[in-house]
Symmetry: C2
Subunit: 334 residues, 2 copies
């Protein structure tokens, strides 16, 4: 019997573990070399326990995902919402985790029986879309994730571009209106300040405060509590035809078109993938966004670019982290 | 005596010819492997003669630059203000020359006794600044040339990035104000529509038409002919303290700061080089531009980026075209 199992292992696919470490939850998955999730687990992030406590949580997830397997994972990839060094997995800044200057990859390696690799979560998600998702077979690809904030990642000539400080592709902080509203960064009128989840919330709350009558549909949902209006709520109301919400989302679409036109002219991608929670609610608008971007972009880059939705949704982070680790610890696979 | 000359030739530097083909003039130079111009010539572009006539003009320049030399150039590089294919030197569109779809490199090779290489003129100038100018020793570099229009070029991880259609880095057409004035491209509020030579002219002419009194200093210089006001004139007047021109140029500076903040956040360069005719007049503002960009950019990328003026000025085009040709036809040099 044992030899039979070994025989099966001989043709079994290699696998690794991907972890998506966010401020509210930690997602973990066992992923095979084709990017397929075999099994997944999640746990609520215990931020108060600090890096050591979170490593303990990750170890528990990894143990559960490895339990009963005869072979070990090729490695563990961890995507973190924060600024990560290009090599060595040093986290400079992860606001959602309240971390500054944490040598996270070293700490993981010390406290885990597997090889570990730490990278930025947007990079992880983009890598997954590129390798096994909507960006497959493209060498010049830009991913734009529009959720609470806006993140981006640029692949050019078949290479994920890092830049001087590993922060290449912070597309949410391209200026779209220098006289526009303040961003969470120090600038004004960033793409993120005009088209992200928090920007939609700001517009809806401000608008509802100024004119409760026109915003009655949203206000009804939150019992008049302005601060409970969310971006997704506004999108849903807009999709349902509410004129107040529709005006906000139409303007958001114009900002997305402006931001993506900058992306097309600046980065000349063959394809743009639009992901993130806000974009999930705006799927139906992608064809008109693509059309408007093509109208505005320079002919040479605009005529050929394709704009589509992401295909891996919330799983992109764990899949990308797992594939990155697989690539790093077994160079021959991808 | 002959053997003496041959002895000197034995240690002589290799050289090539660089051509900067513009709509008004053709600059040519003999350039050595250190990027030094040994000799240069220019001629007025005879646009009416078409590609064949211009090749004849280029051949005459090349012959003059080669006359009396015992050794031949390693090659001839030609920078053209237009859309050029990444390989093969096919020109899709060169508005200043009134060309569409010209297989220029093939035509040059057929009609010239030297190897020829055709590339975009902004790329050529950026390559020169990178190899032998203000960008030397930098692996992550963005060049922004602000003249009549705004052109850009991105070098990342030691590689000049081309993009899907060889149009990566059209930085003048990043959106800075989606509700802004129309650009010469199909978009509105591009960086170029707010901070280029033609944008400055538009602002000055419109402002002077609306309020001749406040614009009297400029109007005096052009005998009241609004359409003779140029960008350089406005910069000169602003540098001299004219309040009307100063207001325009201060606003242009804000747009440059917005555009470069997008560049820092989007492309994470270690250095930005500012060149072009308009920037030559704004040299003194570069330190305050750098300071303001650092204030607005994300910390990670903004803290380390350096912003300086170009060092090769009008010679960058011929030097870059020559060095590119030298690299292409003698891979061992650079």
């Amino acid at each position: 019997m044992t030899s039979g199992i070994q025989g099966m292992q001989g043709i079994a696919k290699k696998w690794s573990i991907g972890i998506d470490l966010g401020g509210t939850k930690i997602n973990g998955a066992r992923v095979d070399e084709t990017g397929t999730i075999i099994e997944s687990k999640k746990v609520k992030t215990n931020i108060k326990s600090g890096p050591k406590g979170i490593i303990h949580q990750i170890n528990e997830l990894v143990d559960q995902l490895c339990a009963g397997k005869e072979d070990a994972p090729l490695g563990v990839g961890v995507g973190v919402a924060g600024l990560v060094s290009e090599t060595g997995g040093f986290i400079y800044f992860a606001p959602n985790l309240q971390w500054d200057d944490v040598p996270f990859e070293d700490m993981l390696e010390e406290n885990m029986p597997h090889d570990a690799f730490v990278l930025n979560d947007v990079r992880a998600a983009a890598y997954a879309e590129w390798q096994v998702g909507a960006g497959r077979h493209f060498n010049d690809l830009v991913c734009v994730f529009i959720g609470t904030g806006i993140g981006g990642c640029v692949i050019s000539d078949g290479k994920l571009i890092a830049g001087a400080n590993n922060s290449f592709g912070e597309l949410g902080h391209m200026t779209l209106d220098i006289d526009g509203p303040p961003c969470h960064c120090k600038n004004t009128g960033c793409f993120e300040a005009l088209a992200s989840g928090w920007a939609i919330e700001r517009e809806a709350r401000t608008g509802a405060a100024a004119n409760a009558e026109s915003a009655h549909l949203l206000l009804q949902q939150v019992d008049g509590h302005l601060d409970q209006i969310t971006g997704k709520m506004v999108i849903q109301a807009a999709n349902g035809g509410d004129p107040f919400s529709l005006a906000i989302i139409d303007r958001v679409q114009l900002s997305i078109v402006g931001g993506l036109t900058s992306v097309v002219n600046g980065f000349n991608p063959a394809k743009i993938i639009l992901g993130g929670g806000i974009m999930e609610g705006l799927q139906k608008r992608i064809p008109s966004i693509e059309e408007q971007v093509k109208e505005r972009a320079l002919d040479i880059a605009g005529e050929t670019v394709k704009i589509t939705g992401a295909s891996l949704q919330n799983n992109a982070g764990v899949i990308g982290a797992a594939l990155f680790a697989m690539k790093k610890f077994n160079e021959t696979i991808l």
